[in-house]
């Protein structure tokens, strides 16, 4: 008995020290933040509400996606790993053009990867209130990433996913996208009228109804006197009328780019064909099924700047 007491007297201080050390450690250890790079470097004071300023690919195969998009579009990548997150920032000509994100959980077999479109806002929380009031639902609550800004993900009233981002470094300038960069975004939806009204309420767009052959509604949304996106009726014979945003990358040659996408393991969903502006577009899917568009746009065909 005496031995036990003697033993306890010696061990107790060490035990207390160990407990204090643990408690202190837990109290002071902070999570390593998930650092996304600034959208614009050096930072600017430019803000273009309603402009598509970022895209994220949700993919179950980050390595495969890097090989595909790097080979097709000349992107380079910087990996970011934090927690269960595997993320790579894609760069074109030294500028960040998008993110490739492999979520920890894999999708079930009924779903396939997609690109998520981010629109510029000044105030994410105010955008959330407006979106909810107009029939959207929150998919991911607003969250701040110190260098990037504050962002949130919603589903619009028809169910198409989109995100908003209030960039802390300003928004990219309104210049013509380089080949390999995103140039255009189109919402494909069963109810263009309703969706155009929703996005107009959210981003204060000007809306232009365009005549379209076959009676399919086509609305161009603009801000700062630049076309930002379009809202398109899904073709009436579409067997799965699921609304979605489709983003287009500028390419020099849509035929060649589509062929290269196939050579890299992708698929052609819509063959290259001439669109409204007289040059070719195509829709392709990467090897995991994420769809995106290819669009030609030659410098010489651009109209003179409106200002």
């Amino acid at each position: 008995m005496r031995d036990n007491c003697h033993h306890a007297r010696h061990v107790l201080p060490y035990g207390l020290c160990a407990l204090l050390l643990c408690a202190g450690g837990v109290a002071t250890a902070k999570p390593a933040p998930f650092e996304l790079p600034p959208l614009v470097e050096p930072a600017t004071a430019e803000h273009h509400v309603g402009k598509v300023i970022w895209v994220d690919l949700m993919t179950p195969d980050l390595a495969g996606a890097k090989t595909f998009y790097g080979g097709l579009l000349g992107w380079t990548f910087r990996d970011i790993h934090a927690g269960k997150t595997d993320y790579a920032v894609a760069y074109l000509d030294g500028q960040p053009v998008g993110g490739l994100f492999q979520p920890a959980a894999r999708p079930d077999k009924q779903r396939h990867p997609a690109w998520l479109t981010f629109f510029a806002v000044r105030d994410v929380d105010a955008a959330k209130q407006t979106a909810l009031a107009k029939g959207a639902r929150v998919v991911v609550e607003p969250k701040t990433y110190p260098q990037r800004g504050r962002q949130a993900i919603f589903a619009d009233p028809e169910g198409a996913f989109f995100a908003v981002l209030a960039s802390t470094s300003g928004d990219p300038s309104d210049v013509l996208a380089l080949p390999g960069d995103w140039i255009w975004s189109a919402l494909l939806t069963p109810d263009p009228d309703k969706d155009a009204a929703f996005y107009q309420a959210l981003f204060a767009y000007d809306a232009f109804d365009l005549p379209s052959e076959g009676g399919l509604e086509h609305v161009v949304l603009s801000s700062d006197d630049y076309a930002r996106a379009s809202v398109n009726a899904l073709p009436s014979d579409s067997p799965h009328p699921h609304p979605r945003w489709l983003n287009f990358v500028r390419v020099v040659d849509a035929d060649a780019a589509a062929a290269k996408a196939v050579a890299l393991g992708g698929r052609v969903l819509v063959a290259p064909h001439v669109d409204r502006h007289g040059e070719k577009i195509a829709v392709v899917a990467d090897p995991t099924g994420a769809a995106f568009g290819l669009m030609e746009w030659s410098d010489t065909d651009s109209q003179k700047e409106p200002r």
Partner: protein, 105 residues
Amino acid sequence: MNNLPQRWMIPALGVLLFAGLCACIATGPGYDGGGGVGYVGIYEPEGYDYGGWGGSYQVGPPRGGERRPQQPQAHAYRAAPQTRPIPSIPTRPHRPPNPPRPPRG
């Protein structure tokens, strides 16, 4: 002498526990808050195809200056005045990168 291993055992365990906790916590929640649940919902339903795109199905941006027919229709959104031409995408070229500054002196 017999007590020596036991005296060091508890602080050693404490240090190990501390290191383990730090390793767990310092990895952080990542981009999607850790679980990725919200983002998995963003994966698209299987089965959608784009086969319905015919030649008249147009999604691209206008070139600018295009005007609409003078037959305003009722919409859920506020259509811009018919007199206003449809704008195009930004077409101003990228500024070339700044040339390197000459060395001083």
